[in-house]
């Protein structure tokens, strides 16, 4: 019996592995790949031509910085990490020659934070500010890194430095984010809302960002109709923004409206973070594609694991816990993730995974974070109560 079983297993294995076979296309005119950067995209064409100029002038530091900056913009717009790599490659030769160039250190810092090298990024951004104290960008990036790492006093100091340098709504957004995380949620929400109403001329991108943040604060204040209003007015601006789509999807999932998530994210399977929301919604409503979304995500997390990437651990933890039902794996991801990122979402998944895996003490850092900063969120407070009941300390 065992022998026949072994044969059956081996046969199944052979079948499952035979699918990946190379092929030769039948004709030369067959299109085998669509390149993402078409000749019609002016920003891509521009950076291509700059790259050609670089071949003739390899020592031109300004040219290298412009190429890096443009690739970084492309990466931000399209969510394609290859462009971050191209930007890194463009500035590598400047390490020796551009030690006094503020732009070099700023771009280097932005690229370092991308690969989660936060200490390196902070050093580079400090250097940029030393060389050009009036530049707002390095300050804003430092504030952002401080926020991610829950260094709120430092973040607030950077926000204050931004006040004379940027649009008042931006500075207010920076400050409000910190205050909302440190025991002044209602005041931060009111102040930011007021500033938004006063700023009639603000750029749509800035308004979108502020509305998204207000939506998140409104959820924590349990003002659900207001949250809905913030998100929908942000969506009405007509700017594609993955973070907004993700945050609004989370809100819809919280409100048990998964069908709207599936509709909202119909064309977003290619984005890892939005595919996670699709998988969660699909599971909640037994959507026919739910299994397919889960499989795609599993493939992507496996591929990331293979190459040693650690950029999506928060999402991987949510996937393991809520889609796959593997509390232990989820907790492993969530614990590693919390080592580098300490935002509310990171704390949330750490606490949920610790509860599910029956290891309440694993969530202690998140509980400490809640207590020390007096972070206000009824959902997190409830998780904390459950953890304390199981033996964690508040």
């Amino acid at each position: 019996m065992l022998k026949s079983l072994t044969l059956a297993i081996l046969f199944a294995l052979a079948c499952s592995q035979s699918s990946a076979a190379p092929f030769t296309p039948k004709s030369d005119s067959e299109v085998v790949e669509k390149l993402p950067a078409t000749a019609n995209d002016p920003s891509v064409r521009r950076v291509d031509s700059l790259r050609k100029q670089l071949a003739a002038r390899p020592n031109d530091a300004a040219l290298r910085l412009e190429i890096a900056q443009r690739y970084f913009d492309l990466a931000m717009a399209q969510g394609d990490p290859r462009y971050v790599g191209y930007a890194q490659a463009a500035i590598i030769p400047l390490a020796q020659t551009a030690a006094n160039n503020a732009d070099y250190w700023q771009i280097r810092g932005m690229l370092e934070q991308y690969s989660h090298d936060f200490p390196g990024a902070m050093k580079s951004l400090e250097k940029a500010s030393q060389l050009d104290p009036q530049a707002a960008n390095p300050i804003a990036w430092r504030a952002a890194i401080d926020m991610v790492q829950a260094q709120y006093a430092e973040a607030l100091a950077e926000c204050t430095k931004l006040v004379p340098l940027v649009h008042p709504l931006f500075a207010q957004g920076c400050t409000a984010y910190v205050q909302a995380n440190t025991g002044h949620l209602q005041a931060a929400y009111d102040a930011l809302n007021k500033e938004l109403n006063a700023a009639g001329d603000a750029a749509p991108g800035l308004v979108l960002w502020v509305q998204t943040r207000l939506g998140e604060m409104a959820i924590r204040l349990q003002k659900y109709p207001e949250a809905e209003a913030h998100y929908t007015s942000a969506l009405k601006l007509g700017i594609t923004d993955q973070y907004l789509l993700g945050a609004y999807s989370d809100f819809l999932l919280l409100q048990k409206r998964p069908a709207e998530v599936v509709k909202l994210l119909a064309d977003w399977e290619r984005s890892d973070i939005l595919l996670l929301r699709l998988a969660l919604a699909g599971k909640a409503m037994n959507h026919p594609k739910a299994a397919d979304w889960a499989r795609q995500l599993d493939d992507r997390f496996t591929a990331a694991l293979q190459r040693g990437d650690r950029l999506h651990e928060q999402e991987a933890a949510r996937f393991e816990l809520f889609v796959q039902g593997h509390p232990q794996k989820a907790l492993d991801y969530a614990v590693r993730n919390y080592g580098s990122q300490k935002e509310a979402r990171d704390a949330d998944i750490l606490m949920q995974a610790a509860l599910a895996a029956n290891q309440p003490k694993a969530a202690q850092p998140a509980l400490d974070w809640l207590r020390v900063n007096r972070y206000e969120d009824p959902a997190l407070a409830q998780l904390a109560d459950q953890l304390v009941a199981k033996g964690a300390t508040r």
């Binding site: 079983l5 297993i9 092929f23 790949e33 960008n137 591929a303 040693g308 039902g325 029956n358």
Partner: protein
């Protein structure tokens, strides 16, 4: 305006919303010890090749097979220039072994190069230096599956700019060693996973008895008892082997909370059946039905151990064998004692019913823990 956009990007940085997979190339390198040769299959994304070689001649964004095929020699040369394999400090000669083909990966179409590396010898160690694309994209990675001479399982190696040169292990973990390792793990799992032992014991307790109306009588012969044991154990084994294999091979998956709770429930059911009766003749059906669920439990234990790529079948068979060995040990220890005691009042009136009640209570406690997240005092 541009500065402003960057500022926004700053406060949005932790959104880290990368829609695409980063750049990777995939190599499978299979060693042939007798000929001192390495067969290399190398998959490189067409998008990456276009970036460095400009394959899209008409610049319309659509790469045709003609545009790729006519640059085949350039592609091979570019690739081979960025891969050095050395055997005992002497370079291995890389030669194209088959025409370039294509293959689909999750993130697009890849060129498939088939190359043979002829080395002077394998005697003084093998090294690989990989440098594809690092100069234009430091986030690129080379993912190599290395199959050592005589090896079944492949070893994964990741090449990056910081680890561009790595040695290849010439000693393959032998099939026997892999098998042995998983057999041991399987035995351990049965011995440490009390729930499987308790389920089996619940089914074996009455195997030496016969139910007569409301009470139990000792079984007439050892042969009948052993036949009963054999039926139960075989059904349980067959069932969990099926689901263990299906789960490990990825055909079926169940949420672990459901699996673990149902395993606890299966023990309660089996234990209560010993007291209240109901299923006497067809205990093997119960063993089979619940065995299916226990198989999923084994599968998650095996998944936690990590499965060797390429030797999945070996790991699966080994683990399963180990589980059977552990199980047989329990059966051989338990059945003779039970058979000897079967005629005593102690066994029929006390040991079996009270043992069953204790088992049911323990399993109920597990069930509450697993199904409702109940955290008791233990």
């Amino acid at each position: 305006m541009k500065r402003f956009l960057l500022l926004l990007a700053a406060l949005a940085m932790h959104f880290g919303a990368w829609a695409h997979k980063p750049s990777d190339s995939y190599l499978t390198m299979t060693a042939n010890g007798e000929k001192a040769e390495i067969a290399v299959r190398w998959d490189i994304a067409l998008r990456d090749l276009d970036y460095v070689l400009g394959l899209d001649r008409d610049g319309n964004g659509d790469l045709t097979w003609g545009e790729v095929r006519t640059r085949g020699d350039d592609i091979v040369k570019y690739a081979v220039d960025h891969l050095q394999i050395t055997g005992g400090e002497k370079a291995c000669a890389l030669q194209t072994a088959a025409p370039m083909q294509l293959d689909h990966h999750s993130d697009g179409t890849y060129a498939v190069l088939t190359v043979a590396a002829k080395c002077p010898s394998f005697d003084n160690g093998l090294k690989v230096h990989y440098s594809l694309l690092f100069d234009v994209d430091p986030t690129h990675r080379g993912l190599i599956q290395w199959i050592a001479p005589g090896g079944l399982a492949s070893q994964p190696l990741v090449f990056s700019g910081d680890s561009a040169e790595q040695a290849l292990q010439l000693e393959a973990p032998s099939a026997w060693k892999t098998l042995k390792q998983y057999v041991v793990e399987g035995i351990w799992h049965i011995w440490l996973g009390y729930d499987h032992i308790l389920f089996l014991l619940s089914l074996l307790l009455p195997a030496v008895l016969l139910r007569m109306g409301n009470h139990w009588e000792p079984a007439a012969s050892l042969k009948k008892s052993l036949l009963e044991v054999l039926k139960v154990v075989t059904a349980f084994t067959l069932a969990h082997s099926i689901t263990l294999s299906l789960a490990v091979l990825g055909f079926v998956s169940l949420p672990s909370r459901f699996v673990e709770s149902t395993i606890a429930a299966s023990i309660i059911f089996a234990a209560l059946n010993n007291i209240r009766g109901g299923i006497e003749k067809k205990r093997w059906v119960m063993a089979f039905t619940f065995g299916l669920i226990h198989g999923f439990g084994f599968a998650s234990a095996l998944a936690d151990l990590g499965l060797p790529q390429g030797a999945l079948a070996l790991a699966l068979v080994g683990f399963n064998l180990g589980v059977e060995v552990g199980q047989m040990a329990i059966v051989t220890a338990f059945v003779p004692i039970a058979f000897a005691l079967r005629g005593t009042v102690f066994y029929r009136r006390w040991f079996m019913p009270i043992g069953s009640v204790i088992i049911a209570i323990v399993a109920l406690y597990w069930f509450l823990q697993r199904a409702f997240d109940f955290q008791g005092p233990f």
